[in-house]
């Protein structure tokens, strides 16, 4: 890409894909923004008059909105905390030489291949169900009253399910990073008098910083839009105890058939996601340099 001619040629050749991608993103975005300014309810067909900010004020002043934002943050933060801490611990464990390492590694990665709906259903029916679920059986065997996870701690249960799905991803990335650590550095630290805890804090953790950043950034993008797990387990309830922003938008536009308000919620979600992204890049993005 050195000469002017080759740069022009390169631009000409990538333009179809750039245009296609832009169209793919821009057209739905512009349509969402357009719908969000209309009174557009599928239950009331007819003309869809322009209403300005009305949909936005309606969406934001809904008491469910504040709860949904809070739930979204709790869900993202909780899953990040569990997967990063758990991922580091698992990676440390899997990095140790042990018998059957290959099989164990594949087993650890397996949850990632299970579809979100399927894993949520498995958790709902086989683990959390107070009558038939494994936890219920264990509680009964121990003489305790079974705990109804999904109605008594709905958000925590969903955090558990989602963490279970994302732990393999975090583990895999962190394990790869850990394996790229020069063993001579650890030996040098050992000779310098660092005990295992100090070796972890001063050598391994700084080495993992970049991988942890990648895990946090990528997971945040996906976790902001968790939907299937909530849909098949709690349907956002009881009440709005496990409703996140994505689920609230779904409720507005498809359960209440209010396309206008749903679109307004969508636009707000996009803005919020970007705020979170900027915030994250400011905080931890510097780990990605050099």
């Amino acid at each position: 890409m050195a000469t002017k001619a080759s740069r022009a040629a390169a631009r000409a050749m990538i333009s179809p894909s750039v245009i296609l991608l832009l169209g793919w993103m821009l057209i739905p975005l512009l349509m969402t923004i357009y719908f969000s300014t209309l009174r557009y309810n599928l239950l009331m067909p007819g003309n869809n008059p322009f209403v300005g900010w009305e949909n936005y004020t309606y969406f934001v002043t809904d008491p469910a909105f504040a709860t949904a934002i809070w739930n979204t943050l709790l869900l993202v933060g909780g899953v990040l905390l569990i997967t990063v801490v758990g991922g580091i611990l698992l990676a440390l464990l899997l990095d140790m030489p042990m018998w059957g390492q290959g099989v164990v590694r594949i087993m650890v990665i397996a949850p990632f291949f299970v579809m979100p709906t399927v894993s949520a259903l498995v958790w709902k029916n086989m683990f959390f169900n107070p009558v038939n679920g494994l936890f219920g059986h264990i509680a009964k065997a121990l003489g305790l009253t079974p705990f109804d996870f999904l109605s008594q701690a709905p958000l925590a249960s969903i955090i558990g399910i989602v963490s279970w799905q994302w732990l393999p991803f975090a583990t895999l990335i962190l394990l790869t990073a850990l394996q790229s650590l020069d063993s001579e550095q650890l030996e040098a630290a050992e000779m310098d008098g660092a005990d295992p805890v100090n070796r972890f804090v001063f050598i391994m953790l700084p080495h993992l910083a970049r991988a942890i950043t990648v895990v946090i950034l990528i997971q945040t993008i996906f976790l902001l839009s968790i939907f299937a797990e909530i849909f098949v387990t709690t349907s956002g309830g009881p009440g709005d105890a496990s409703t996140n922003l994505t689920y609230l938008i779904y409720q507005e536009s498809l359960l209440s058939f209010d396309v206008g308000t749903g679109s307004a919620g969508g636009v707000i979600a996009i803005i919020l996601a970007n705020i979170v992204a900027i915030f994250l890049m400011r905080m931890i993005g510097k780990n990605l340099d050099a």
């Binding site: 001579e184 550095q185 040098a188 630290a189 050992e190 000779m191 008098g193 660092a194 001063f202 700084p206």
Partner: protein, 333 residues
């Protein structure tokens, strides 16, 4: 401080015995070099002493105290690795201070020792940089600095110069030798380069396949190599080995003569055709073919000597410089 004794130490990786029973004693303040071809177990031996590998059997004593089962940190030894093993996310200052920080030394003393080490090693201007911003030679010095501040009983070096270019290597060789003169601390230095061994060591330990072939001062090894392996390994260019009748005349299976102990003369015992000549200015090395003694013989002439490819020359070995070896390769006194 710094007497290290190995007593019948062995090391096996699984079934493979890398170090057969080995005895060695290293005196206080000595500069000892382990030298041998790649894969002969030098690093393994050094790591056994450092405590980074467990001994399979035998005992390691440091200053009379049994250190065989002591963890590396408790042995009061400092190691400089081939890759330098600096901590990339710490500044030079923090790298050097790390062992003191682990030992919970007070901050003022830490600073004092870091400044002192930086002064000695010419690193004062680089204390706030990261290792990634330093040249190879500077990284090497940081690694040495990190070792010095611990005031260890002995320093262990594993091929510390092999990642440097030739000019820098000569410079660092001198610096390490000077450091030894100043600190008078025991140093164990591993290398595959016999020139490093000859120029730096008080005592050289020649290893082959995990076994000690000979221990002695550089000139001991040069003058009286105990066997053919040592004779061929020490000295550059390599010693010429002659078998057959010429050797039988001297009552040996093999005789050896170093290139610098053969004179080019008008008439002489041996003759041959000049092949490649290497002109170094101070010396000229001729590769001589068709001598009827060995495939190729190397001969050194002092200064600039102008024989050309294909010239016929006569050579006379200095009789008192002949080394004689028996059928098993051992030196005949």
């Amino acid at each position: 401080m710094g007497r290290i004794t190995l007593d019948k130490v062995t090391k096996s990786f699984g079934e493979v015995q890398v170090i057969p029973p080995l005895d060695l004693s290293i005196e206080e303040g000595e500069f000892v070099v382990f030298v041998g071809p790649s894969g002969c177990g030098k690093s393994t031996l050094l790591r056994l002493i450092a405590g980074l590998e467990d001994t399979t059997s035998g005992h390691i004593r440091i200053d009379g105290e049994d250190a065989t089962d002591l963890p590396p940190a408790k042995r009061r030894l400092a190691m400089v690795f081939q890759s330098y093993a600096l901590y990339p996310h710490m500044t030079v200052r923090k790298n050097i201070a790390f062992p003191m920080r682990m030992a919970k030394l007070d901050k003022a003393e830490q600073d004092r020792r870091v400044e002192e080490a930086a002064r000695v090693l010419n690193l004062t201007d680089y204390l706030d940089r990261r290792p990634g911003q330093l040249s190879g030679g500077q990284r090497q010095r940081v690694a040495i600095g990190r070792a010095i501040v611990r005031e260890p009983a002995a320093f262990l070096f594993d091929e510390p110069l092999s990642n440097l270019d030739a000019a820098l290597r000569v410079g660092m060789r001198l610096e390490i030798s000077e450091l030894h003169e100043r600190l008078k601390t025991t140093m164990i230095y591993v290398t595959h380069d016999q020139v490093e061994a000859m120029t730096m060591a008080d005592k050289i330990v020649v290893l082959q396949a995990g076994e000690i072939e000979q221990v002695g001062s550089p000139l001991d090894l040069y003058r009286t190599p105990r066997n053919r392996f040592v004779a061929g390994f020490i000295g550059s260019p390599k010693m010429n080995f002659i078998e057959g009748n010429a050797a039988k005349q001297h009552g040996a299976e093999t005789i050896g003569i170093r290139p610098e102990h053969i004179d080019i003369t008008e008439t002489g015992e041996w003759s041959g055709t000049v092949g490649v000549s290497e002109h170094l200015g101070s010396d000229t090395f001729f590769h001589v073919h068709d001598t009827g003694l060995a495939d190729v013989m190397t001969v050194r002439a002092s200064g600039e000597v102008g024989y050309k490819h294909g010239d016929r020359i006569h050579m006379t070995p200095r009789p008192d410089m002949l080394h004689r070896f028996d059928a098993s390769g051992l030196r005949i006194a």
